[in-house]
């Protein structure tokens, strides 16, 4: 099966019928991804199916990664086979940055444990999920080939999020400014009160001091009659 450059993504995925970790059959097939991995011709991404659940539901082999008709020869050439090279690359250039990272960390794991290493499954799924949440423009594979609605939808979502963030930032700045202004007002108020109280205290002291000399002055008192 030759890779047809004009083929749609969906067709390509159907052809690949990726079979990652839970299908042990593939080890036996000569064209299985396991041997391909052993040959280090493929990277882990090739084993991952189309983004769940959309593509998976429509998959001919059912809701699980299955199929053994992975024709590695066509897929692996030219090595190293990545999603980037499966297509002409114009669709998947956005995957460029994350994929090298993942392939370096995951393919090593694969070579050690082989396809049956189910424990890497959660690890493999997770980065894609986090991608899906954080960057609307960068969902799972094949997502870019979805209808235009999701493109404009994700653009809208991004726009709304940006607006929301701006508002939040503006509120935060306003909060900070309000706090500062209130502090300044309080300081001014307290300084005023302090000055007033000091003045009042001095006045009271002066008043009491004015009385004292009189009190301390010797006064004639009646002497004893004897």
């Amino acid at each position: 099966m030759a890779v047809n450059p004009t083929a749609t993504m969906e067709e390509l995925w159907k052809d690949i019928s990726p079979s990652p970790l839970h299908c042990h059959d593939h080890r036996h097939s000569s064209s299985s991804p396991a041997t391909a991995a052993a040959r280090q011709d493929m990277i882990f991404q090739d084993f991952l199916g189309p983004p769940p659940p959309t593509s998976m539901l429509g998959h001919p082999t059912g809701g699980h990664y299955g199929g053994s008709n992975l024709s590695s020869s066509s897929v692996v050439n030219p090595p190293p086979v990545t999603i980037l090279s499966l297509n002409t690359g114009k669709e998947f250039h956005f995957l460029e940055s994350p994929s090298p990272f993942r392939s370096s960390s995951i393919s090593g794991n694969l070579q050690r444990g082989g396809l049956a290493n189910v424990s890497s499954a959660p690890f493999s799924c997770y980065p894609f999920e986090s991608l899906d949440n954080s960057t609307p423009a960068l969902p799972c594979f094949g997502a870019k080939k979805r209808t235009n609605d999701s493109d404009t939808g994700s653009g809208d979502r991004r726009h709304k999020k940006m607006i929301k963030n701006r508002e939040s930032a503006a509120r935060s700045r306003a909060r900070k400014q309000a706090y500062t202004n209130e502090l300044e007002l309080e300081v001014a108020h307290l300084m005023e009160e302090n000055a007033r109280l000091k003045k009042q205290q001095e006045q009271l002291y002066m008043a009491s001091a004015a009385k004292l000399p009189k009190k301390n002055a010797f006064q004639r008192s009646s002497t004893a009659p004897f």
């Binding site: 929301k164 508002e167 939040s168 509120r171 306003a174 909060r175 400014q177 309000a178 706090y179 500062t180 202004n181 209130e182 502090l183 300044e184 007002l185 309080e186």
Partner: protein
């Protein structure tokens, strides 16, 4: 020239219209936690009603105190605004809220999303027992509407603080 914190914090705007404070008011939680405009307080510090002192008027003037949260459920989208936390009427001048009547009992702030403002507003009543009918619900309260319905006019004092959901102790 610094802008009024009530304006900066959008209390004037979101909750009430511009007014001139004419009666000083102080709100103190737990005997030592003063409420300053725009300052943040932990929800754990405001579980019980504060002491609200009216530093003005006289024993023959009566005041109504309203405490609301205009940021429910969250400040970025407060579609449930406002939430009524406390309503006290017939507070005589120069006294505090304990001398008034709790039409709606104090409910402690429990902000779920984001940083909420909690606003205290003091209104001067025309006479005693102006506010006869307590609001039926704490939800979707409108201070402006309430003031209008009870002929309270503009507030004579306002104070607000910020609070956010208190982080729970987590095992790390």
């Amino acid at each position: 020239m610094s802008v009024d914190p009530l304006v900066l914090g959008r209390v004037i705007g979101d909750v009430v219209d511009s007014f001139s404070p004419s009666v000083p008011m102080s709100v103190i939680f737990n005997h030592n936690k003063h409420v300053y405009n725009g300052h943040e307080i932990f929800p754990s510090s405001v579980t019980r009603k504060p002491r609200v002192q009216v530093h003005g008027g006289d024993m023959r003037t009566f005041f109504t105190l309203v405490m609301i949260d205009p940021d429910v459920p969250g400040p970025s989208d407060p579609y449930l605004k406002e939430h009524l936390h406390w309503l006290v009427t017939d507070i005589p001048g120069t006294t505090n809220a304990t001398f008034g009547k709790d039409l709606v009992g104090y409910e402690m702030p429990q902000p779920k999303i984001g940083i909420h403002r909690f606003v205290f507003l003091l209104f001067k009543q025309k006479c005693r027992k102006t506010v006869r009918n307590p609001p039926v619900s704490r939800e979707r309260f409108s201070t402006r509407k309430f003031a209008e319905e009870n002929e309270l006019g503009l507030p004579v004092a306002a104070l607000f603080f910020n609070a956010r959901r208190q982080a729970t102790a987590r095992r790390r």
